[in-house]
């Protein structure tokens, strides 16, 4: 491309300070996290949103609001130590049952995880209401199917989950490293029943076992 230098002069990217302002404006205007790709798409040609973000993040360190990473996206959120000022904004979250909380934790720490694996860990069948509730809250979603007989669906946590719990990524889950080091995230089949999970997923009447509430 011989005309590249020319093009550059035509669409010169704004200075970094201006780019930082733009990222600031976009993130302030949105309640949802915005991806770097989205930022770049909305900013003028030649901008580098990722770099502008680094500057912006530094600028807000220690302030009343912070620039936080949520998975692949970015958002501005109030500093957690100021939560006490926000009684007016506090939203009453639906009270999650103990089963739902445990199921959510298992999905987060073991993802992608099948329903059979969740049941194996909890030792009880997972009620359909529990998974429905988590899907509806958009804290979990379907992941890739497992390449085992029966090709069961898997569950993974969503960006909204990360946002809700202030996690940059699923790797930042509390205690994740320790749990992994202790082997507690391994899938370890019952001795003598290596293929138990797969059999379970494959079985014709799998549906039934979820129909009955524990």
């Amino acid at each position: 491309m011989t005309d590249a230098p020319q093009e550059q002069s035509l669409f010169e990217a704004p200075p970094m300070a201006a780019q930082e302002r733009m990222v600031e404006a976009i993130l302030f205007a949105s309640a949802e996290p915005v991806t770097v790709a989205d930022l770049n798409a909305r900013m003028p040609h030649g901008c580098d949103a990722a770099e502008a973000l680094t500057h912006l993040r530094k600028r807000y360190e220690g302030r009343g609001v912070r620039v936080v990473r949520v998975g692949e996206a970015w958002a501005i959120r109030t500093a957690p130590d100021l939560g006490f000022l926000m009684q007016k904004e506090t939203v009453e979250t639906r009270k999650l049952s103990r089963a739902a909380i445990e199921t959510l934790a298992i999905i987060a720490y073991h993802q992608p995880v099948t329903r059979a694996e969740i049941e194996e860990i909890r030792g009880v069948s997972v009620s359909r209401g529990t998974v429905d509730q988590l899907l509806e809250m958009e804290w979990i979603r379907f992941g890739r199917r497992r390449m085992t007989p029966g090709r069961p669906v898997t569950f993974v946590v969503t960006q909204d989950f990360l946002d809700h719990f202030g996690l940059e990524s699923a790797r930042d889950l509390p205690g994740l490293k320790e749990l992994r080091a202790a082997g507690l995230l391994d899938s370890r089949p019952m001795p003598g029943r290596e293929d138990r999970d797969e059999e379970r997923d494959d079985s014709e009447d799998q549906g039934d076992m979820f129909e009955q509430e524990p």
Partner: protein, 258 residues
């Protein structure tokens, strides 16, 4: 189990009953085992599975004594633990296939430790700062120029529900249009245009119906409707006049003199 319980026995029994009354509070046998394991007051990694199995079996015994209905999975676990107990107590039989008692016990200990770990992790997760409680998103997101273009959206749940809806329709029948019995207005118009020229006087509209469309009720209905629509169109253009003597009387048409 004795008829005359001594004093400490009463206490133990009350404790056991309290436990049993609570059976609804347990989320399955693994949860119960985890609770029982706490009475050993040791690290889960050093738990005596044999002792735990005995505690569980005693619990099930008590429940039977009190004529409490236990869910099937509790009984399945009891049977399995009884089997495990015998494996752990008896010297290993070299001819026996399958995993040893120690392997099974180790797996049970692993399951308990893993469940406990997940509970702790869940508690840690819920103890984190949460959006909408400890930190907050923008309360007043800006939308400068709204209603620019419509973006249609749907959730995965919508998609799945739609599919489920289609697949559960019992009155499902493919829609097929019966084109054989349909006479279109365009066809009628084409036909009428040629015919009205011949008719100098009032003629019944019914007499214009083409051959093969006068008898079968379905075809007749379609052809009549098409021809009626066509006469209205021709009347509008000023090509013909039409009249009807009375309600439901035959409709008559004639060429308009120009």
């Amino acid at each position: 189990m004795s008829e005359q319980p001594d004093l400490p026995g009463v206490e133990a029994r009350l404790a056991a009953e309290a436990l049993i009354v609570d059976v609804d509070g347990f989320e399955g046998p693994l949860d119960l085992l985890l609770m029982l394991s706490r009475t050993q007051k040791v690290d889960l990694r050093r738990i005596s599975v044999l002792q735990l199995a005995q505690q569980y079996l005693a619990f099930v015994e008590k429940a039977k004594e009190l004529r409490l209905e236990l869910a099937a999975d509790y009984l399945v676990m009891a049977a399995w633990l009884a089997f495990l107990k015998s494996r752990l107590l008896l010297p290993p039989d070299p001819t026996e296939q399958g995993p040893s008692g120690e392997e099974l016990a180790a797996h049970l200990a692993f399951q308990l430790e893993r469940l406990q770990a997940m509970r702790d992790a869940a508690a840690q997760l819920m103890a984190r700062d949460q959006r909408g409680r400890d930190f907050f998103a923008r309360g007043l997101p800006e939308d400068v120029m709204r209603v620019r273009h419509v973006r249609y959206t749907a959730t995965l749940l919508d998609l799945m529900q739609a599919y489920a809806r289609i697949r559960t329709r019992d009155d499902f029948r493919p829609y097929v249009m019966d084109r054989d019995a349909v006479y279109t207005m365009e066809e009628a118009l084409e036909r009428m245009r040629g015919l009205v020229g011949y008719a100098g006087d009032w003629t019944d509209l019914a007499s214009y119906l083409p051959e093969g469309w006068q008898v079968d009720p379905v075809r007749r209905r379609s052809a009549t409707a098409a021809h009626f629509a066509a006469t209205l169109e021709l009347a509008k253009r000023g090509a013909i006049e039409l009249r009807q003597g009375d309600t439901f009387a035959p409709i008559q048409i004639r060429r308009k003199e120009t």
